[in-house]
């Protein structure tokens, strides 16, 4: 699993990247009430806005940590946005991307680096 500075995570399996927001990000947001997901088939570039996550008091853009084409979105979030709070890095995933360039992953942090990064934010 790799992490971005904007608090997204990516897990790659067989050329397909699953993307979500980190446990740290959901803690900062508080209770998630709505997630706006991209259309399947949409092509996103790394760093582009791909989704929006809303809590009662805030709305945050979710940026694609890597480039690719959206192949699937987590439709369970429509009815149960709380999944993002309960299991941000598991059942609370946002979308799956067909990886455009695996080398982009190198620019992202590993778990240890991300942990150090978030600790530095306080």
């Amino acid at each position: 699993m790799r992490f971005s500075k904007d608090h997204e995570w990516v897990r790659v399996e067989g050329g397909v990247a699953t993307v979500g927001i980190t446990t740290y990000a959901q803690e900062q947001l508080g209770d998630v009430v709505f997630v706006e997901l991209p259309a399947v088939g949409k092509k996103v570039k790394a760093g582009e806005e791909a989704a929006v996550v809303e809590s009662v008091k805030a709305a945050s853009e979710v940026y694609a940590p890597i480039s690719g084409e959206v192949t699937e979105v987590n439709s369970a979030l429509a009815d149960t946005p709380a999944l993002v709070n309960e299991d941000a890095e598991g059942k609370g995933w946002f979308m799956k991307l067909k990886l455009a360039d695996a080398k982009e992953l190198d620019a992202l942090m590993d778990a240890a680096a991300y942990k150090t990064y978030t600790e530095g934010l306080h």
């Binding site: 009430v33 809303e54 809590s55 009662v56 805030a58 709305a59």
Partner: protein, 448 residues
């Protein structure tokens, strides 16, 4: 000064507590060269008697609709407002409260708004409505912008039956907001084919129901044509009482309804404040502008209401908000809500039936005036008549006789010879047979 409680002693004591020598010290950040040490060049303060006298004198130079036979409409209508409405909206707890940001001490406003939203949704035949907009005209502009967000398209088609000032507002927003507006030619006969203007880039067709010229047309075919092309149908209603007698826009396939709610609970007020009604389908609710009151429970499990889905709004989304608007028309929405509650199902339907019947009677009487013809086959409480000479002059001459005959179409659409002789005439429950006879007699005389 009767509104300022501090006494000179208070001010001295307070300055001492602050540790400032003078009030001017508190303004030390204000450079001396811009400080007005003397009162600006305006009159000094006045008591209630003097202010009342001066403003009453101004008011007396106007002709209120209630004091003369009046048939003015074109987006603002003279209706009777029950006495209880004005009493209740002047209760200080409603009048002098702010936006219900602290829900524990604003349940009155929040519950009222929830009832208001329900009323608006029911009357328009839509799933959800917001807690009101500035007025019908700005609600219309917001509807067009919302259609752009929903469809991600950027051309709006405006019917020639849309109120010309509403049209001008949408055009202004389009010009500076980066979307195209195609305004169809004025449609006094109610025969335009707006569906013919649909294309792959059209976000919405905006049509008024009843139209500016009074026509009532079935919108189902237009709704189907819009949906077939991926566009939304925006229905504008400037006389909300009409929906007590007419099929609702929602039932005909409208995607957004933007309406003026002035007719219920609110006076003419020379054009404002009024109350914008805004309703849409459930699936578009997160693209809807404006405040929303939503039902929830409190810490003890009791039912209550809060402002909700506020992440759409400017104070959170800033430059990504659905709209820059941050207020609604709270007190006017309250007046609407109270009047509608007084009317109820039976009252609204009867009020609408009376309005329509009065208009039918007036149309028949006017049709008997030599040289005058009624343009409309269908209408609710307002219709267009064609006169043998320019309507504007006739209206001025009748006003001199203290009859407000109607709104000349040329006032809002000047410079078009084909429209110069058209007059919009409205009748409501406030018009008596005697009013109508006075209008007919005055027109006969003027046209002789």
């Amino acid at each position: 000064m009767r509104y300022l409680p501090l006494t000179p002693d208070d001010r001295r004591e307070m300055l001492a507590a602050i540790g400032a020598a003078s009030v001017r010290d508190l303004f030390k950040d204000v450079p001396a060269k811009v400080w007005q040490s003397k009162p600006v060049d305006l009159p000094m303060h006045l008591g209630e008697i003097e202010v009342d006298r001066a403003l009453s004198a101004m008011a007396a130079r106007n002709i209120p609709s209630g004091q003369v036979p009046s048939f003015l409409g074109a987006g603002a209508y003279k209706h009777h407002v029950p006495s209880a409405v004005d009493h209740l909206i002047q209760r200080g707890e409603f009048l002098t409260a702010y936006t219900p940001y602290q829900p524990e001490i604003a349940q009155g406003t929040l519950q009222m708004l929830f009832e208001f939203q329900t009323q608006v949704a029911l009357i328009t035949g839509m799933d959800v409505a917001n807690a009101s907009m500035y007025d019908g005209s700005t609600a219309t502009a917001e509807a067009v912008m919302m259609a752009g967000r929903v469809t991600r398209r950027n051309r709006a088609v405006l019917s020639g039956g849309l109120h010309p000032q509403y049209r001008a507002i949408v055009e202004t927003h389009g010009k500076y907001g980066g979307f195209k507006v195609e305004s169809l030619a004025p449609d006094p006969d109610g025969k335009e084919d707006a569906a013919a203007r649909l294309g792959d880039d059209v976000s919405c067709v905006v049509v008024q129901y009843p139209s500016f010229f009074g026509h009532v047309r079935d919108l189902k075919p237009l709704a189907e044509a819009c949906h077939a092309k991926g566009a939304l149908l925006v229905v504008v209603t400037t006389e909300i009482v009409s929906l007590g007698a007419l099929e609702s826009p929602g039932a005909m396939g409208a995607d957004i309804v933007a309406a003026e709610g002035q007719s219920i609970g609110n006076g003419l007020n020379y054009g404002g404040p009024y109350v914008g009604l805004f309703a849409t389908r459930e699936k578009f609710v997160r693209q809807m502008p404006g405040r929303l009151s939503g039902q929830t429970v409190d810490a003890d499990g009791r039912r209550g209401w809060v402002l909700t889905l506020s992440t759409r709004e400017q104070h959170i989304r800033r430059e990504k908000a659905t709209s820059n608007i941050c207020t609604n028309a709270g007190l006017c929405a309250l007046a609407f809500c109270i009047h509608m509650t007084l009317l109820g199902e039976a009252g609204l339907k009867r009020l609408a039936a009376i309005n329509h019947a009065k208009a039918v009677q007036l149309a028949d009487k006017l049709a008997g005036v030599p040289g005058l013809s009624v343009v409309n086959k269908s209408f609710f409480n307002e219709f267009t008549v064609r006169l043998p000479k320019p309507a504007a002059g006739i209206v001025e001459r009748l006003a001199a006789k203290r009859i407000l005959a109607g709104v000349p179409v040329s006032r809002l659409l000047p410079g078009d010879a084909a429209l110069a002789n058209l007059l919009l005439v409205a009748a409501t429950e406030t018009n008596t047979d005697r009013d109508m006879d006075a209008l007919v007699a005055a027109l006969r005389e003027d046209l002789r």
